[in-house]
């Protein structure tokens, strides 16, 4: 025997809204799952994203050398790097600001500051070195 009872349209609508809605929300939650997985990978393996780690090591090395070699408050000009010109120009500008130095494009200055690449001894060793030249 076949039942021919009509379903209430509101009930059908509720089921469709619940299914599609939950499906869409699960879709948006996928990013959180991926972030969790990547975060755990970073936590357990420091070299999970080696280029990112190398960039961080390079930047921390440059910062240490900047603090050692450039007095706070100096007027400096930036020497363009041979490779990754925009990257190092912006990062050196950032380090200069953290040190309270004034970046000048023209006019008198105390130091010229640039970056040169060096061979990494290990994958997580620094691959750059700060080049500081006293001008004034």
């Amino acid at each position: 025997m076949t039942s021919t009872k009509r379903r209430d349209p509101t009930t059908v609508a509720r089921v469709v809204v619940a299914l599609v809605g939950v499906g869409c929300l699960l879709l948006t939650a996928q990013g959180a799952v991926q972030a969790t997985g990547r975060g755990v990978a970073f936590m357990t393996d420091r070299e999970h994203d080696l280029p990112a780690l190398q960039h961080q090591v390079d930047l921390e090395t440059l910062w240490q050398q900047f603090v050692e070699q450039v007095p706070a408050g100096s007027r400096i000009s930036l020497t363009p790097a041979r490779a990754n010109k925009d990257l190092w120009q912006q990062r050196l500008s950032e380090l200069a600001v953290l040190r309270g130095c004034v970046v000048v494009q023209v006019g008198p200055r105390d130091y010229s500051v640039g970056v040169t690449t060096v061979q990494r001894k290990r994958p997580t060793s620094p691959g750059v070195r700060l080049v500081v030249r006293k001008v004034g």
């Binding site: 509101t10 599609v20 929300l25 879709l27 948006t28 990013g31 959180a32 799952v33 972030a35 500008s93």
Partner: protein, 456 residues
């Protein structure tokens, strides 16, 4: 460095707690809200420093004292504690947000974090004279020095006390952003107060987790996109989804201010939301006018940045593309938007359409406002986004590739808010009064002004 980071976290919680508690009247929720209020106080200190002069540390001390006095004054006014303010509710909000925050172990290497937000924190930390000179310097045009200070201010506050380091900056930014996400979760739960507790909490958490939808590093990478987007979405939930939006306006107003003072597109989005809230609350324009205060705050920063000669690629130039170029830019933009948010928007639109046709009565019984308000906010922001990509000065394919995932986050969150509302209605029980639902808090009074002293 680990000790510095931990001390920075504790300082941020301690600095923001009094004001957060005065607003919410719940110590547990106040802990979640404290990083945002601390960042807001830091922002006030940065702005005062730029306007008046002097070192940041001096202004931080004055603003913290003033904030504590304001919190004491607010606490003495009659009021009630915010609903869902128990320790178990705070844990329900915070714990699900922790796993994706493991991304904090990712190296601090995001381009914009260094070139924009931490660089700005650096010049704020060096005092007014240095900051003013750097904001107007042609050497720093790449850094968008016109961008608002909210994301950088708490980092600057920490760096004005301890030596700068990027891990601490990453941790501080994460804490403030997670605080905004927590408030989004809380406000969704509060809006769904007539729905079964289990369903409401699950949906609120789902909306919060949508913050990571397209950008896994959005919260922990030191960027401002997730911060302003979640703050904006939280305010939209409180002001557009709830039945009585202006009854507890303090938290949404703070979140709107966060959005307006975090990014330029945040200010534009907040202005649109203010228009919608004003139209929605036109019966009581005096209260509705409150939502224009955050717009004024964002506008004041824009004026200050202009006075300090700040330049940005967006404001200093527009695309010189002719008609054919505009068509091509439009095609690239729509294709990129479709890839990132298209399927989600279609799904949310289907749900909204079916819901509007068949479940409107149930929605009303669940105490939720019409879904069209949320879609209007989303449509407005999408239109602004498309207009910006069409008229902006950058090469379109590079621009889209480097930004579209991040700047569409408000679209994702508002779509998730719409979905959460309809799913709550679909899972709801009897449409007549919602009387069979399982509640974990007493219902709030329906009418505005019934408890005039409430602040949260």
């Amino acid at each position: 460095m680990a000790l510095t980071s931990m001390l920075a976290v504790l300082a941020l919680l301690a600095a923001g707690f009094p004001l957060a508690f005065a607003v919410l009247r719940s110590p547990f929720l106040a802990v979640l809200f404290a990083p945002v209020t601390a960042a807001l106080l830091s922002t006030v200190a940065v702005v005062l420093m730029l306007v008046v002069g002097g070192p940041l540390l001096l202004w931080l001390a004055l603003v913290l004292v003033a904030g504590a006095a304001g919190a004491w004054w607010l606490s003495r006014r009659p009021g009630e504690s915010a609903p869902y303010g128990g320790w178990s509710h705070a844990l329900l909000i915070a714990l699900p947000l922790l796993p994706p925050c493991f991304m904090i172990f990712e190296p601090a290497f995001q381009w914009d974090a260094h070139s924009i937000w931490w660089l700005h924190a650096g010049y704020f930390a060096n005092g007014s004279e240095y900051a003013r000179a750097t904001i107007g310097s042609p050497a720093f045009v790449f850094s968008h020095t016109d961008y608002p200070p909210f994301a950088s201010a708490p980092v600057a506050a920490v760096w004005s006390v301890v030596e700068p380091d990027f891990r601490t900056a990453q941790l501080v930014g994460t804490l403030v952003t997670v605080s905004a996400v927590a408030m989004l979760v809380y406000l969704v739960r509060r809006a769904l107060n007539r729905v079964s507790a289990r369903v409401a909490w699950a949906l609120a958490i789902a909306v919060g987790l949508a913050t990571w939808a397209n950008v896994p590093y959005a919260v922990t990478g030191g960027l401002a996109d997730a911060l302003w987007s979640t703050a904006f979405a939280g305010a939209a939930v409180a002001l557009l989804l709830g039945a009585d939006p202006l009854r507890r306006p303090a938290v949404p107003l703070v979140l709107l201010t966060v959005a307006a003072l975090s990014k330029n597109e945040g200010l534009i989005a907040v202005a649109g939301l203010a228009v919608l809230v004003t139209v929605r609350g036109r019966a009581d324009l005096r209260r509705a006018a409150l939502v224009w205060l955050p717009v004024l705050a964002g506008g004041a920063w824009a004026v200050l940045a202009r006075l300090l000669d700040a330049q940005s690629d967006i404001t200093s130039g527009t695309s010189d593309a002719r008609d054919a170029g505009v068509v091509e830019r439009f095609q690239f933009t729509v294709a990129a938007l479709w890839d990132v948010v298209g399927p989600l928007l279609v799904g949310a639109a289907v749900v909204a359409l079916i819901g509007t046709l068949f479940l409107r009565g149930r929605r009303h019984a669940a105490g939720l406002a019409a879904d069209g308000w949320v879609w209007a906010a989303n449509g407005y922001y999408l239109a602004v986004l498309i207009g910006t990509y069409l008229s902006g000065p950058n090469e379109i394919q590079w621009w889209l590739a480097t930004s579209v995932n991040r700047v569409t986050l408000p679209v994702v969150l508002l779509a998730a808010v719409s979905l959460a509302g309809w799913v709550a209605v679909a899972f709801g029980g009897d449409s007549r009064a919602g009387s069979q639902t399982v509640l974990d808090q007493p219902r709030e009074p329906a009418m505005s002004g019934s408890t005039p002293g409430t602040t949260g």
